[in-house]
Amino acid sequence: MNGTAFSLFLGIVALTLVITYFASKKTKTTSDFYTADGGLTGMQNGLAIAGDYMSAASFLGIAGTIALSGFDGFFYSIGFLVAYLVVLFLVAEPLRNLGKYTMADMIAARFNDKKVRGVAALNTMAISTFYMVAQLVGAGALIKLLLGIEYIYSVLIVGVLMTVYVVFGGMTATSWVQIVKAILLMLGTFIISVMVFAKFGFSFTEMFNQVKSATPLGESFLNPGNKFKDPLDTISLNLALVLGTAGLPHILIRFFTVKDAPTARKSVVYATWLIGAFYIMTIFLGFGAAAFVGQDKIVAANAAGNMAAPLLAEVLGGEFLFAFVSAVAFATILAVVAGLVLSAASAFAHDFYTHIIRKGHASEKEQMKAAKWASVGVAIISIILALFAQKLNVAFLVSLAFAVAASANLPIILLTIFWKRFNTAGAVTGMLVGLVSSLFLVMISPSVWSPVEGAAILTGEAIFPLANPGIVSIPLGFLGAIIGTMLSKPSDVDKFNGILVKANTGSGLRKGA
């Protein structure tokens, strides 16, 4: 075990626990627990959104994918970033104006119906779980590699820590852990990028020229098409990337941590600058790893390329930088998983328990208790799933979460805000069609089936040809919502007008409501 790495890991854990301790003193009401009482500034929330977004998949996954397959890895960076325009233009402000604690609140503001709330909560929990299991599997593999701890114990350590953050510190702790981590991650990435750029004499043309001869792909490293060969699959992936973000529960609940729509907008703008700067730097990470670590060493450490960034840090800055980057990667996973636990737990405790089981008649104390127990429950379930999912591909689980979010959540969010005729039946059918079709298409896709034994989860011929279901399931989600609406009575026009006014002016939120 590496001494420097170990002490930096302990330092990061200690720092986050101190944050949680101070946050726990402030967390008294359900509003504190779910949304930090809407008290974050635009800058703080922007950093926290960026932190929630720059997960292990981004930091470790994209750097590795660029290092191994060149340009195609950069598609992820572009899609993840441009997605924020969808969030900024269409979703952030109305969501802040209509919602209280969860995404279901916003839909229920228009359709006061248990079915709608229940299905929305179900979607949130499904998406959060896929995302969470992906992060936990990544965390387990990372810690095993860095500290030599068994996979099962690694997952347990991460699981216990994230539960502590959420249960004791709620959204306040989760946000501050996220902010601190975002700053550390940006710092680490910046240092490595500058070092890589210096090695290429601060010249882009030199960098492109050298990397060409450094990888086995040669010239084609610089061209698209190494990883994504089927044109439709490329487009389908890009569709899910750009539309998925606006339906991700742990990103959406971030908009309830600020006081009004202008602050929500500001936080998206800050997040977009930070995320953009970060994703530009993934080029340096990927190219640097390809040129200075080499494909053989990257693949030897982890077949999916997930260790490219830490290995690059080791080559450039020795043991200390390696330890620092690894500890930050660990903090990244912890913080993102805490955000996911919170989004799943709030969907369960707030939407199912408080609104459906108790019909809105639960005392503040009972609600708090439910939220905390729900967090513990969600954490236990995801730890158990992560132990079984050890062999699953992390990128596959994340892309599944994006596809479900884009197919099941986004159509309903948009139609609730923008479509006058939309009604309860449409919302329920849309969400169910999006959820079921995206899951079903993945089940029969090449991500699950491969004729070569061991290349995918099951051996056999895939019925659906695309690895990413977005191009079919997203239109199906919209279609389900539209057909469901057309086959039933139109919704109350006055009520839609109420939503229209509140969503666009924030009139329902003003004066500390």
Binding site: G79, V82, Y84, P224, L232, P262, R265, V501, T505, S507
Partner: protein
Amino acid sequence: MLPKKQQNFEHSRYSDVVNTKQFQQLMAEKKRFILPMTVFFLLFYFSLPILTAYTDVLNRPLIGDITWAWIFAFAQFIMTWALCMIYTKRAKRFDELAEKVIADMDKEASS
């Protein structure tokens, strides 16, 4: 939870608000900005994967070994940041219009 003044606002009264000139202006200005911008950025975004998936035109080098694909990819970043700034500027106007609508609602509710 509505602020006190607006608590006596029935749903039917929101329909009156929707019909006011102020609110119609807010919606019209928003639509005129957001709709074309959204169409534009989606077209710009999807033109990259469509071009790389079906053609090789972007594989040609532009400066040294840097190909058009990388330049186009970088342009996506510039576009995102630029649209963010433009939107921020325009949103100030939307906020002003929204303030006016709310002020009228408050007046109406207390009368």
